[in-house]
């Protein structure tokens, strides 16, 4: 029941089966009541007809009964009646039994005959269930008044079952038809649903292709017919137009912010740079200027990082890719790593494969990523620890591993370390060091992903942390 199509099909089929069931039930009930009505009518008319024959014959011939029995030729005449027919005399003795009635046997005939015996009890029509095992008989009793004194009453009856036969056949038919119609309903329903939902699938595919700022200008093809799906398409298109507008606004904002923030930084920087190279300044002034310069650089770096991430959100990867032997970048980083490690009293290991690892990358970004991870590794490894940097190709991919034996990352922090502005509590950093803005790892993640790669982290508190950067060998994304 995962797809709308399956749901629709199920609903269609259920509705069909229910309708079919309700229809059959109504038909069955109507048919049944008509059957019973017919049965009553038949019994009634059989009684009336018998009575008429008796009266006519009496008028023409007088005596109809000899030695407590109906005379012969009448018997033949009345045998034609297919149902139960019993004629009694004035004392309640049976004068005649039809063929069907005789088949019932003495005990059951007696039960029927009792109904036609004076004094009459209650109704002169009804249904009786003969003991011990049926049948149920619908009967009518009629008193014979115009055929001489010997006659008592006529009982005409018919087996109720004959009335139920027709309706029951209807039920049987329904049970036979049900599976066939269910299968048909499922097939047809599923086909209709697919036909109806085909445009939805198309819309899903098209919308899925619109993934970021680069593809946001695309629109769905609007169908000519303004049905529900047509309106959905229209609504989606309008939504995308609004999205595109806000993306454009964001882009404008990033450009504006970039300009507005960087121009004053340029002015500041130029001023400080000029001042700091003025000869003869007192050392205190120089130190202040140097601090200012460092802050300006950090601020610039922060603005850059923010803008880079903002642009990355738009899906614009400002990468300048060229085929580079990654070993060269790693070797370049090695010296810096060793310098950092030496300062922190940490040992440093670098391993690169003997053959070139040429990958189309933005060299300055990969350098940034490596230095960032190395700086972190050294920063969080106590003196005496070890930091290792490894480069290794692995079927179609290139893997960079930066591992340390440092203080590690708490399991609760692991999912957040690539978040922007996220920082573990300050206890992690060595005292006296100023923590960064918390964008370093977010930038690393962006760099890895913009190259079509991934960055992963494994860490055990007190044991160390390993960052694994995987890059595809061929340019993509």
């Amino acid at each position: 029941m995962q797809t709308l199509r399956a749901q629709l099909t199920a609903w269609y089929s259920a509705a069909l089966v229910l309708t079919l069931g309700a229809f059959t039930l109504a038909l069955y009930l109507a048919r049944r009541s008509a059957s019973f009505h017919d049965l009553d009518q038949r019994v009634q008319s059989e009684a009336d007809l018998t009575n008429g024959i008796l009266e006519e014959s009496y008028r023409a011939r007088g005596v109809l009964v000899e030695r407590d029995s109906l005379i012969g030729d009448f018997r033949g005449l009345l045998e034609v009646v297919p149902d139960y027919l019993i004629i009694t005399d004035a004392d309640g003795r049976v004068l005649f039994l039809s063929q069907t009635a005789r088949e019932l046997g003495y005990q059951k005939v007696e039960q029927l005959a009792d109904l036609a015996k004076p004094p009459l009890r209650g109704r002169n029509a009804g249904v009786i269930e003969l003991a011990p095992d049926g049948p149920r008989i619908s009967y009518v009793v009629r008193f014979v008044t115009g055929a001489g004194p010997q006659f008592g009453a006529i009982l005409a009856g018919a087996n109720v079952q004959t009335a139920e036969l027709g309706p029951q056949q209807l039920l049987t038919t329904f049970v036979l038809i049900l599976p066939i119609s269910l299968v048909t309903a499922l097939l047809v329903g599923s086909w209709i649903a697919r036909r109806a939902l085909e445009p939805v699938d198309r819309i899903i595919t098209e919308v899925r292709e619109i993934t970021d700022g680069r593809t946001l200008h695309r629109r769905l093809a609007e169908p000519m017919v303004k049905d529900e799906l047509g309106r959905l398409t229209e609504t989606l298109n309008q939504m995308m137009m609004r999205l595109e507008r806000s993306f454009a606004a964001l882009r404008r904002f990033t450009a504006d912010a970039s300009h507005e923030l960087k121009t004053p930084l340029t002015v500041l920087r130029a001023g400080v740079e000029r001042s700091i190279t003025t000869p003869g300044l007192p050392q205190e002034t120089l130190a202040t200027l140097e601090e200012t310069l460092l802050e300006i650089k950090r601020m610039t770096e922060l603005v850059d990082a923010l803008l880079t991430l903002a642009r990355a959100d738009e899906g614009i990867a400002p990468l300048h890719r060229e085929p580079v032997d990654l070993r060269a970048i790693v070797e370049e980083a090695r010296e810096t790593g060793e310098l950092l490690a030496e300062q922190a009293g940490v040992s440093m290991e670098v391993a690169t494969p003997p053959e070139p690892v040429v990958v189309p990358v933005d060299a300055s970004r990969i350098r940034q990523l490596l230095l960032n991870l190395l700086t972190n590794a050294v920063k969080y490894t106590p003196a005496g620890g070890r930091v290792s940097l490894q480069l290794g190709p692995s079927d179609g991919r290139v893997i960079l591993t930066i591992a340390d034996t440092g203080i590690g990352i708490a399991p609760g922090d692991l999912p957040h370390i690539f978040d922007r502005f996220w920082r573990a509590d300050s206890a992690r950093t060595r005292t006296g060091e100023r923590p960064g803005a918390g964008l370093g790892l977010a930038i690393c993640k962006w760099i890895a992903e913009a190259h079509g790669g991934t960055i992963e982290v494994q860490s055990r508190p007190g044991r160390g942390t390993t960052f694994t950067v995987t890059l595809p060998r061929d340019a993509q994304a």
Binding site: A270, L294, P318
Partner: protein, 222 residues
Amino acid sequence: MKILVVEDDKTVGQYVKRGLVEAGYHVELVGDGTEALRLATDGRYDLLVLDLRLPGRSGLEVLRTLRDRGDSVPVLVLTAQDAVDFKVQALRMGADDYVTKPFSLEELLARVEALGRRPKAIAAPVLKVADLALDTGSREVKRGDRAIELTPKEYAVLEYLMRHAGRVMPRTLITEYAWDYHFDPGTNIVDVVITRLRKKVDYAREPKLIHTVRGVGYVVKA
């Protein structure tokens, strides 16, 4: 050599102008693109320093108009955008080089010099302080007769200090020069390099050439 600086921000413009004038160039400063296009005719300038974001006509438009005119004057673009694609766009439109804001004056001067088509021979390829010599061509360093082996970062730091011999160079600028612009080690990695350099350059030698200016940076002088 005449340079036209097109920059709408007055302060930035003034700094650029002053820096270039001090380096010995003739400089004119204008604040908008239309004015720049009016002035930059008939090869009146040897170089344009062009801000990309200008009121009225954008820098890219100015650049395109210039190139459409068939003017091949070298153009150095100033941009606040660190995005590579934007720079690439500027370069495709015919810019010769770019500097990202905020830029150091030194970087700007270096690029202007490179674009100025001046014979490089005038600039001495061998930097000398006392008996310390650094060949910027072959990257060889000698103290007296003794050759000194330097790692790439050591070389970069020493070269930077020797280019500005006698001037105190702040750590921030040294880091920026010797490492990637984006690199902020959070610690003074320069100090470690200097310690190593001292061992190689100044050990058992007089006079000491590398001097610390506490809280600021370093200076190379005799």
